[in-house]
Point group: C2
């Protein structure tokens, strides 16, 4: 069963996805994943184990679902949502449910089991960004997909169940609550000041310089003023832009800032486990209603969250975070961190 259920009190949707059939005895601590290319479903030669290829960067002479690829996009074997389901919204007693309509894809970033994202070359990261953008654009052609989230989990603590370098993409039929909060917050700020809050943040951060990690002509990376986590780092395009996939002309700069920021985190924190998410604008369509100014007020960005502290009852209970490292200190460590060679 895959189903979306809405919390009856607040606007939070939950995906109930019982494909993996979790009974109480299934929740045993997982063993650490050891690299074994013969068993890894993402390694070259094992293409038949994964669901079929949705897209790939591969030489023309090679055929789908065979080795030779540089980047490969496949369906998630245990998808949280599926586009084969018809989108039906209905009530169940006092509750609201939706069928598990959506998409859940895996982007295998490199054939090399051991080369994590920060170890890829700037050129390889450019290719990866292009694949991210192509998939987002393709999914946004279907107006039933309201939002596409690209995210990356590195390490078991960060939720990665396979260690082969990969990222994921989930397309949802509703705008997720955290994104909606950001959209509404940015809209409120724009109404008050007629300026994008993210553009103002960039200007302010450049002025003080206190929290900047790295910048080039087109992008800035910094530790946000109200960082939830120690060493949390955001990357923003300097030019105002709603959608991640529209940044086609600045892919080289984006690849550079992403690589350098990840390298600095890896050096300063001795290869921490981490998550990153790309917060892009929602899928716009004619009847989008109240988000009239969205092109002016929202600004896509990447949020990188190293997993250094454990989130406990207080954070779950309140949405309030306790961060033991001042963002100004974190940024200073990251500015000074010299990426190791290679």
């Amino acid at each position: 069963m895959q189903e979306l259920r809405k919390d009856p009190v607040m606007e939070r949707w939950v995906i109930i996805s019982t494909e993996r059939g979790k009974r109480p005895s299934d929740f045993k601590p997982e063993p650490e994943d050891t690299p074994n290319p013969h068993e890894c479903p993402f390694c070259p030669g094992n293409e038949q184990i994964t669901p079929p290829e949705i897209a790939a960067l591969r030489p023309e002479k090679t055929s789908s679902n065979s080795p030779g690829w540089k980047i490969r996009v496949v369906g998630n074997k245990f998808p949280a949502l599926s586009s084969e389901t018809e989108l039906i919204k209905q009530g169940r007693g006092m509750y609201d449910v939706m069928t598990g309509f959506g998409a859940h894809e895996v982007v295998i970033e490199t054939p090399d089991h051991l080369r994590q994202l920060d170890k890829l070359s700037v050129e390889e990261i450019r290719d990866l960004i292009r694949v991210y953008q192509d998939r987002t654009e393709a999914l946004y052609r279907d107006v039933r997909f309201r939002y596409v989230l690209i995210f990356r989990n590195e390490g078991k603590q960060a939720g990665a169940s396979l260690s082969h370098p990969h990222s994921q993409l989930i397309a949802t039929p509703v705008t997720p609550i955290r994104v909606k909060s950001e959209l509404l917050g940015a809209e409120a700020y724009f109404k008050l000041r007629e300026r994008c809050v993210f553009c103002d943040i960039i200007a302010h951060e450049k002025e003080t310089g206190l929290r900047i990690v790295f910048e080039n002509d087109a992008f800035i990376s910094f530790c946000p003023f109200a960082s939830r986590f120690p060493f949390e780092t955001w990357i923003l395009p300097k030019k105002h832009e709603l959608h991640f996939h529209a940044s086609r002309d600045r892919i080289p700069e984006m690849a550079q800032v992403l690589k350098i920021t990840l390298e600095k985190l890896q050096t300063a924190l001795s290869r921490p486990q981490y998550n990153f998410v790309i917060h892009t604008g929602p899928n716009l369509f004619p009847r989008r209603g109240y988000w009239q100014t969205i092109h002016d007020d929202y600004h896509w960005h990447i949020e990188i969250m190293p997993r250094l502290t454990r989130v406990a009852g207080f954070e779950w209970g309140t949405g309030f975070y306790i961060n033991p490292t001042a963002p100004e200190d974190a940024a200073k460590y990251l500015r000074e961190a010299k990426p190791s060679a290679g």
Copy 2:
């Protein structure tokens, strides 16, 4: 430094608490805590190691900060917030900050290092609930405290840094974002239907019976329809009530439902690590403005969240959760789980 910072985009506050001085090298995996009563600051005989006693359940002949207590409340050694700070709100450039005013207390639940909450007797749990209520009531006398959250982390994965049974209490000068979402959601529901959404949930759950774990005359425990986590379980008083600390006349029933629910979780899931939080109403004071109907529309409750799955990039990025166990299945396992003797 302790400081509250507001996210400039959305209404999320973060506590920057650098008391523990976290540099990059401080984020090493912590060793598992082994029970050693000589070194445990919460064990009897070590009362001088903790900050001074704020309250205690102890025989009259014993003196403060000495052994003999049954329950002990002390300040947190590394408080996230402190009541000795003056509450000052100010701007910093484009950002909003507040001094780290608040309170952070630890409730040591038993002198016995090894008896976790589910192993305490119903009578001992009654005493603990009374202490929780007394402390909440005492803090709510100060109108600068807008909210008191009581929470419990059991196990390292759940964020507990000491294994001696304890819970915590944090009083904040702002209503936390998740609580505010619940308050506003409950208010919107009440405006539409003139009924409390939580009362409606109780009626609906009793009617279907599908998700009930346990109930007695005064309380019901069930797996919520839109559970974020596998085996998430909520406890609600059947009588409509805004504040947890007002339930003085039903403490025995509350102790029973809490003990039985925790025992069932422990049996079904082989002692999972978990968090619980008590969501009570905010501190009311004359100029509280728009929450006019709050006495009618909000309903306190306990949320228990076993830590069975890892929260990954998707959840952080969206506030959208993927739950692999249907709440109906979880409730069935829990209903059938027989607490082990003792």
